[in-house]
Structure formats: structure tokens, C-alpha cells
């Protein structure tokens, strides 16, 4: 798994490539924590190149969303989610906890 960070004026985009499983979820979590530790709570995750996500990855998403939304200081949103990944999010009931955008531009424009 690889993460690529792009900082915009009103939000940060993390593009994730590859598999998010128990082996790689700690690195995924670290990439997000490095943002929230800097007080950056408006985050877009570009999921277009995510091949797989397990519950370990879902736990990172939920933990980060809780951190971002605390005190209404921000939000984590998802963009360009592949169909298989979306099915996993829906199964876990995450589709109501995260805004999901079809394209990255709209997701960034959300902030």
C-alpha cells in the first residue's frame, strides 16, 4: 500500500493505492494521524486505486472520522470509491457515516 498526500487550501487529500489489510492498515492510520496531529481535520481520501479493504482499514476510517468530527472541527470524506470497496462500506453501515463523492473535484469542493 502507498499513500500520496496533497495539501490544498481548505483540505488535505490522501490518495491510497493497493491493499488496506491488517499488514498495511497501521501505515494508512499513520498517514491520517499525521494530519490530525497537525490540526488538519478536513480530509478527502481518494479511493480510486484501492484494491482491497478489510475491517482493519475500516477501523482506521471510523477512528479518524471520530477524531475529525469531534467538536465539529472537520470531517473525513471519501471519493472515487470502487464498487467492491463500496459494497464493504455499505455492509458495515459506513455509507451513512461518510460522505461519498463520485469525483475528487466535488469532494475537495465540499470543504
Amino acid at each position: 500500500m502507498e499513500t500520496i498526500h496533497t495539501q490544498y487550501k481548505h483540505c488535505d487529500v490522501i490518495k491510497v493505492k493497493g491493499r488496506i489489510d491488517s499488514a498495511t492498515a497501521p501505515n494508512f492510520g499513520a498517514a491520517l494521524t499525521s494530519l490530525t496531529d497537525q490540526g488538519r481535520y478536513h480530509i478527502v481520501i481518494d479511493m480510486s486505486d484501492v484494491e482491497f479493504i478489510s475491517s482493519a482499514g475500516l477501523r482506521v476510517l471510523i477512528t479518524t472520522q471520530k477524531t475529525c468530527k469531534r467538536y465539529n472541527r472537520g470531517e473525513l470524506v471519501l471519493a472515487q470509491v470502487p464498487a467492491n470497496i463500496l459494497a464493504a462500506l455499505e455492509l458495515a453501515g459506513f455509507n451513512v457515516l461518510f460522505k461519498i463523492f463520485d469525483d475528487l473535484l466535488t469532494a475537495v469542493g465540499n470543504f
Binding site: 489489510d21 491488517s22 499488514a23 464498487a83
Partner: protein, 145 residues
């Protein structure tokens, strides 16, 4: 029947996924059913590594795969700490964000995305048997396994 052994550590998960995909594709599962199978196996192996072997990396996961015209069955065996699936409460997938727990999703996904799931503990081994049935129709009989 195919039997293979993988080291019981997180670094094995990607190789296990490739193995499961090749089996599922050879068995004629659709891409989405293949993804479900890959996810269920990943969750099961992650549980074995984390809970049965407690993160200690010298354990082994034994895979046995049986295919029939109707179904594909995966049996995972380990000799780690006894796993009691009943001790894992199912997550409330309708709970609001603040009340979401971050554990229990793995077993939940396995049960939802596989058709039959059975946990046994026999002679010092955890044995997880998971089956996915192939949808068969008169137009598309289950003959390609």
C-alpha cells in the same frame, strides 16, 4: 482438494489473497463473489494471526480447499489459542458514529459474505469451515468447477 500452508503473520495476507483469487477464478466465481471470498479469508486469517497466535509469528495457517460443481469450501486450521466466536458481539452497523465500536466487524463480514460458516475446536486446533455456493441456473449450470 488443495492443501497449502502459510506462515501465520500479517505479511502473508497479500500472498494468501493472490492464492484465494486464483482458486476463485479457476472455480468460475464472479469478480464480486471472488472479492467476498478474498475478504472473508483475509478477515479469518487476520483473526488467527491476532487472536489465536497473538501476533507471535511462528504459527502456521493450514488451508484446505474443496470445490464441487455447486460450491467452494475453504477450511482454515491453526493450533493457536482457542477462539470462541460467541465471545465476539456483532457490531451495531446502524449505530451513530459516537457509538460505533471498532471491533467485531471481521466476524460479521465473514458471516455476511459467506453462505455457511462453522467454527470448531478439535484436538487443540481451531478449524473454520466456510462455504460459498455458486448461483446456478438452467441457463448457466454449475459445470465449470
Amino acid at each position: 482438494m488443495i492443501t497449502r500452508f502459510f506462515p501465520g503473520r500479517y505479511e502473508s495476507l497479500e500472498e494468501i489473497a493472490e492464492f484465494v483469487r486464483s482458486i476463485a477464478q479457476a472455480a468460475g466465481l464472479s469478480p464480486f463473489e471472488t472479492y467476498k471470498l478474498e475478504t472473508a479469508v483475509d478477515e479469518a486469517c487476520s483473526n488467527i494471526i491476532e487472536h489465536a497466535y497473538c501476533g507471535i509469528s511462528d504459527g502456521v495457517i493450514e488451508f484446505t480447499i474443496l470445490t464441487t460443481p455447486e460450491a467452494i469450501t475453504i477450511i482454515l486450521k491453526d493450533n493457536g489459542r482457542k477462539f470462541s466466536p460467541d465471545s465476539v458481539l456483532p457490531p451495531d452497523v446502524n449505530a451513530p458514529l459516537k457509538k460505533r465500536k471498532d471491533h467485531g466487524l471481521g466476524i460479521f463480514i465473514i458471516r455476511k459474505w459467506m453462505d455457511d460458516v462453522q467454527f470448531d475446536y478439535i484436538d487443540g486446533h481451531n478449524i473454520l469451515t466456510m462455504t460459498k455456493y455458486r448461483d446456478c441456473t438452467p441457463d448457466e449450470p454449475c459445470s465449470s468447477f
